[in-house]
């Protein structure tokens, strides 16, 4: 395919690249332009998303750059979700970062660069492009984690993330080279063809290493150790970003490589995915019980949720992938909403609070905030009638349809353990005596985003089920 046609298929990424570079120039020119750059970055994401939506509407399914990338419904669906999550992360951040003295123009630029990386990740059909996208995203993320330079915890989080992330990238690269060596190609399609006939030990090793590296990126157990530390140390808006957009991208990437490259040998990877899923669910649930810091709690919650999402992948069916996408959409809404609520926990002295003791009796002093957080907690726990229930339901439905009954039963039983700590948050806010440390929120953006996301997670969200079902099914079909 000629270059022009290929370039036209990556218009969203091109827009983002040029915007990021232009905004970087603007930032160099005016140091304190954080807010302006943020607004422009959101606009750039909007423009990119408009192109993605038009691809989605036209049903584009074409590969570009001689099979290095593909522009299909699955990638486009993931991109829309990523761009929305990134835009929300941009909108909620300014006031928080200003408070920390770190609202510099690099923040939106790094988010945009990260989005380009994620756009490449979800549409990569070759191990090389996969790695480039992943690294672009990861490098931006390392810098974002330590964005508040003056805060020791933030710097530590960035360093930790970088060292462990580099290790994971190394494992992934090692796996990729093994697969290349034994399959003879870096293209997913060619690897798939090579695996049709015979899977040798070398290929299996390669697959295991690739999946291990990816498990690190999606913070699935047993490669989850970095998550609580990084989530706790990074500035809260950055944590909200980490928990949403990059997770969507990494999971979408995992889905694509597993299905397109290794799809023909389901028995090879299914056991790995099942083990990782169950371990994540259980470790995410048990690990959270003793936490006193709410951001650490959310980190374990995200590990737990990744476990549920992977149950969809373990099925290896179109229904399972569609279920994962539904869960991802709801997960993004739940997790961003929870972080928006956590960002509103500001003490009377103006400092940010993130401990359990600070939200004691919050329902008496800040009823609306407590109600919103309670909605997110019940939703994360998957209790009907909140929308989080629907995500769990479709995933388990896919598992039942694929005859993975033991997995479904164990997974759903383990979710009771998770319910315990979500309930603990509600208990502390509603049953305990008021500590009255949290002041009225002065950030209208947070209040409105939190309110809208809470409404989306309330039973009102059920009205979105038909549309969500159609679009996720359409996106999942692109992979089969």
């Amino acid at each position: 395919m000629e270059l022009n046609a290929s370039l036209s298929l990556v218009r969203p990424e091109i827009i983002l690249s040029f915007s990021a570079l232009a905004l970087l120039l603007l930032a160099a020119w005016r140091e304190q332009a954080g807010r302006l750059v943020s607004i422009l970055a959101v606009a750039a994401l909007g423009a990119a998303a408009a192109f993605v939506i038009s691809f989605m509407m036209n049903g584009t399914d074409v590969s570009a750059f001689d099979g290095l990338l593909v522009n299909d419904a699955f990638g486009n669906f993931s991109k829309i979700l990523i761009f929305i999550a990134a835009a929300i992360s941009l909108m909620i951040a300014p006031r928080f970062l200003e408070k920390a003295g770190a609202m510099r123009a690099e923040y939106p630029v790094l988010i945009l660069l990260s989005c380009i990386g994620m756009g490449v990740m979800v549409s990569a059909t070759d191990l090389i492009t996969l790695y480039i996208g992943l690294e672009l995203q990861s490098l931006s993320a390392y810098v974002l984690a330590s964005f508040v330079r003056s805060d020791g915890r933030s710097a530590e989080a960035g360093l930790k993330y970088f060292v462990l992330g580099a290790l994971a990238s190394g494992m992934l690269l090692f796996g990729a080279s093994l697969v290349y060596g034994f399959a003879g190609s870096t293209s997913f399609a060619a690897i798939g063809t090579a695996m049709d006939t015979d899977v040798g030990l070398g290929l299996i090793f390669g697959i295991v290493f690739i999946l291990s590296g990816l498990a690190f990126k999606i913070s699935a157990a047993p490669f989850h150790m970095w998550t609580p530390d990084v989530y706790e140390g990074a500035p809260t808006p950055v944590t909200a970003f980490f928990a949403s957009a990059p997770k969507v991208a990494a999971i979408a990437l995992t889905i694509r490589i597993v299905l397109e490259a290794f799809g023909s040998q389901i028995l090879v990877w299914q056991q790995i995915i099942i083990a990782v899923a169950l371990m994540s669910i259980i470790i995410g649930a048990v690990g959270a019980i003793g936490q006193q810091n709410l951001k650490r709690l959310m980190a374990y919650s995200s590990i737990n949720n990744v476990g549920f999402i992977l149950i969809g992948l373990a099925t290896g069916t179109e229904q399972g992938i569609a279920a994962m996408l539904v869960y991802l959409v709801i997960y993004v809404a739940m997790t961003l909403g929870s972080f928006v609520c956590l960002m509103q926990l500001k003490g009377h002295d103006g400092g940010y609070r993130e401990e359990f003791a600070d939200i004691a009796g919050l329902s008496k002093t800040r009823p609306a905030l407590a109600a919103a957080l309670a909605i997110f907690m019940f939703s994360l726990a998957g209790i009907p009638p909140l929308f989080g229930f629907w995500g769990k339901l479709v995933v388990f439905n896919a598992a039942v349809a694929a005859n993975l009954l033991p997995l479904a039963v164990i997974g759903i039983t383990a979710s009771v353990i998770g319910a315990f700590y979500y309930l603990k948050v509600v208990k502390v806010m509603y049953f305990d005596d008021a500590a009255d440390v949290i002041a009225e929120s002065d950030d209208k953006v947070l209040v409105w985003t939190g309110g809208l996301l809470a409404a989306a997670n309330s039973p009102l969200g059920y009205f979105a089920i038909p549309a969500l079902g159609i679009w996720t099914a359409y996106a999942a079909r692109a992979l089969f």
Binding site: P384, P385, F420, Y462, I465
Partner: protein
């Protein structure tokens, strides 16, 4: 017909939700009034349902159907069994609001909102005709109840609220997997269709167990009943009323709606298990009730014993047994609710639930003593009260299946008489040993208005149960027909030719035909 076009059930579900939203934003006095008006409005609609329900008409009436939520069908409809349980819910709700009128002083708006949401969810459980919709209503009830126990409960409310939530959640989740399997097997989540789907016998066993895990906890059956005494003791009075009055009935309703007609063969296979657990429950929890020092705990244990009689009745596979079980459920809903209210009346005055702190209340509280006596007798199962009708029918039904189970379950009634009369003696009779208890004033107008309607219905049900049996008869017969091929043989066979007693035997021809037609 015009009346049929009005979505009565949806309106009944919507009224409390709207009122709940309103309660959150108004001040305390207004919130109480809003809640009372909303629940009374729903009671009126309930009466409208009752009057317009045609016992001889279609099996499912007042049906509604909308596809707003994709795979979750907004399908509602009721049969006679649902109707009676919905009536029970809407009847108890205004009483609950009244019972909390003065005793709840903190966060009134939120309290009323939680109760109103509870009402929607209860009606939803009994009216849902879609498996997933049922599950959502069934499970969603955990949230308001968790908050009611945790915020407005007693000393150990936090432990009790966790235990309540996690216990029931664990039970229900396994049921969800079973439901998903069923939906995929049958290709639909429509309950009326599923009721006539024949699931493979091997699968039935697993499905039955999954449902059993949920309903046995909800019911609650021994040995998974331990959450109930904690929840009851810690919940505020109205919370206990709704818990004992309606939430426990969801377990029985679940057995009746799902386990029996959908998995008849598995149900028949597991009769020994159900009977065994029920027999243990009747005797064990009755004995436990006998030694309780806390009034609410005593009534809570008596609930477990009564619910065991319900499970015995349900798994008899015959008309009397199941009808009796439903009447026990209704009766227990009213009577235990009333007993909790009676406890609430004196608790509000003395702020203790310890039995020994009272005594001789019939002297200074004659009206209270009379009402309390009536409900004690109804709980014991005295003829003329609702308790008798239900227990008699269900045990008569059980006798056809298992003599031993009936024998042991009947001892529960004797023990029940024991602990209830003992409770009554210690509270209402005897010397007035405690000066503060002796100084308590009799029931006031509000409390009388709470207890009197229940008393009327309890007597009504005891004297003329036909009112309550008429709407359920045909639907029970449908279930009996459905499970007939699997019905157990029974160990109580009358001698066919016995000239000495032949002339005393009464032949119930329709009943007999039904029993024989099944074989």
């Amino acid at each position: 017909m015009n009346a049929a076009d009005i979505p009565v059930l949806s309106i009944m579900l919507a009224i409390p939700v709207v009122a709940a939203a309103l309660c959150l934003f108004v001040r305390a006095e207004l919130a109480r009034t809003v809640a009372l008006v909303a629940t009374l409005l729903n009671l009126v609609l309930g009466v409208v349902l009752w009057l317009n329900y045609d016992p001889a008409g279609a099996q499912w009436q007042f049906t509604e159907s909308a596809t707003l939520f994709g795979p979750i069908g907004w399908r509602l409809g009721i049969d006679g069994i649902s109707l009676t349980l919905i009536m029970l819910s809407v009847f108890l709700m205004p009483i609950c609001i009244g019972a909390s009128w003065t005793s709840i002083q903190k966060r009134v708006g939120e309290y009323m909102a939680a109760f109103l949401l509870m009402e929607t969810l209860m009606i939803g459980v009994f009216a849902a005709q879609d498996l997933l919709l049922f599950y959502i209503f069934f499970e969603a009830g955990l949230i308001p109840m968790y908050l009611i126990i945790g915020i407005w409960g007693g000393q150990d409310r936090i432990y009790a609220s966790y235990k309540f939530f996690l216990y029931t959640l664990l039970g229900s989740l396994v049921m969800l997997i079973a439901m998903l399997w069923m939906i995929q097997f049958a290709g639909t989540a429509d309950i009326p269709t599923l009721l006539n789907t024949d699931f493979p016998v091997e699968a039935q066993k697993w499905l039955w167990f999954a449902f059993f895990a949920s309903f046995a906890v909800k019911m609650p059956m021994w040995p998974v009943h331990t959450w109930l005494p904690d929840a009851h003791v810690q919940a505020p009075t109205a919370g206990s009323v709704i818990l004992a009055g309606v939430l426990l009935k969801m377990g029985g309703y679940g057995f009746l709606r799902f386990s029996l007609p959908m998995f008849p063969q598995a149900s028949a296979d597991f009769i020994p298990l159900v009977f065994g657990l029920s027999m243990v429950a009747v005797v064990y929890t009755s004995l436990v009730a006998l030694v309780q020092q806390d009034m609410k705990k005593l009534i809570a244990y008596s609930s477990v014993a009564h619910m065991a009689i319900v499970t015995v009745g349900l798994f008899t596979f015959n008309q009397q047994g199941i009808e009796g079980a439903i009447i026990v459920m209704l009766s227990h809903g009213l009577v235990s609710g009333a007993l909790f209210l009676c406890v609430g009346v004196i608790y509000d005055r003395l702020h203790t639930r310890e039995i020994s702190r009272y005594g001789g209340l019939s002297v200074n509280m004659p009206k209270y003593a009379l009402l309390f006596m009536l409900f004690t007798m109804a709980s014991v199962g005295l003829p003329g009260t609702s308790g008798f009708v239900g227990e008699f029918l269900s045990l008569a039904g059980a006798y056809k299946v298992s003599t031993w189970a009936t024998f042991i379950a009947t001892t529960g009634i004797i023990l029940g008489a024991g602990y209830m009369l003992y409770l009554y003696r210690r509270i209402a009779f005897g010397p007035q040993v405690n000066a503060d208890a002796a100084a308590m004033s009799d029931v006031n107008g509000r409390e009388l208005w709470l207890l009197a309607p229940i008393a009327v219905v309890v007597l009504w049900m005891g004297v003329y149960p036909e009112t309550f049996l008429a709407p359920i008869r045909r639907d029970v017969a449908t279930i009996v027909d459905r499970v007939a091929p699997a019905a157990p043989a029974g160990d109580s066979k009358l001698k066919l030719v016995d000239p000495t007693t032949a002339r005393y035997r009464v032949v119930h021809s329709p009943e007999k035909n039904m029993a024989e037609g099944s074989h």
